[in-house]
């Protein structure tokens, strides 16, 4: 199907780009579209062109975006859609379990990502701002133990490591 992945690509920090951003195929897009429609109908809300275009853009991007970044992307591809609609849609998409807040980036902005993923934590590359995911069961278990011992009931957590990339060109 693809003919382009033979040569290795690199991130700005020099790291080989191993993980391609998720590129949902048409089928998957339709699954999500159905999910959005169902949610909206169930809530007595309306399935609008704008809501789907915004969701689609997020799904196709597949990565990590802050609200402002999303506004810009939307403006670029769908100049008719206003910023207010993007902000309002972010909330709807979070409620619809299509989007979720994932972390606060190095600039203090909330970053959103697709909801449709197993829990993971993040590493923010300080050299190229790329966001990587990791999941470690030992950490999760130990965290649960600690929180429980302090008599809390966890709702959610954010574990973000800000780090330099070992691949960074040493001359820089």
């Amino acid at each position: 199907m693809s003919k382009s992945s033979s040569s290795t690509r690199f991130l700005p920090c020099g790291r080989p780009k191993i993980f391609e951003s998720r590129q949902p195929n048409q089928e998957l897009l339709e699954v999500w579209q159905t999910q959005l429609k169902s949610y909206l109908i169930a809530q007595g809300l309306k399935y609008t062109h704008q809501r789907w275009k915004i969701a689609e853009l997020i799904l196709l991007t597949g990565g990590h975006l802050d609200a402002q970044g999303l506004v810009e992307q939307v403006k670029k591809k769908h100049s008719g859609i206003g910023a207010a609609t993007v902000y309002r849609s972010i909330k709807v998409l979070c409620d619809a379990s299509i989007l979720k807040e994932s972390l606060t980036d190095a600039n203090g902005r909330v970053v959103y990502e697709l909801y449709d993923q197993a829990h993971h934590d993040h590493i923010v590359c300080l050299d190229c701002d790329e966001i990587f995911e990791f999941h470690d069961e030992k950490i999760e278990l130990q965290q649960s133990a600690v929180v429980q011992q302090l008599d809390f009931k966890e709702v959610r957590h954010r574990h973000v490591v800000y780090a330099h990339c070992s691949f960074r060109d040493a001359s820089r």
Copy 2:
């Protein structure tokens, strides 16, 4: 010295208040004042009344404050000091290793805390917004291992658990 700690106090969520906020004594305040002066001199910057008053207020509060909260506290106690100076001072105090960003609270605001502390992570109580600290060596070690294995060099991390308090009044 104190005559007040005989009766247990409670946080808004119902949890007994075990940890009193650090109340630096005069001696400690002077240590910090010296540290600030040294830093400023070393950088060719100036030790001003405002910078010290802001630092002192943070030190006396001892807790977790966001920028806006600090502006309000400063306005309350030192009405002559403007908001711009507070924002500018936060940066200076972070550079001087007196303050550091510690976490993002439940409202998405950056919370600052005293730098002069061993590393720890945080639990944000969703019932009363109080911020608790924890430190767990197993988690730290495992995190280092994971990050290293992915070829990153950690600069800092933030591990925040948002949780409900088991002490919360069940009737609420």
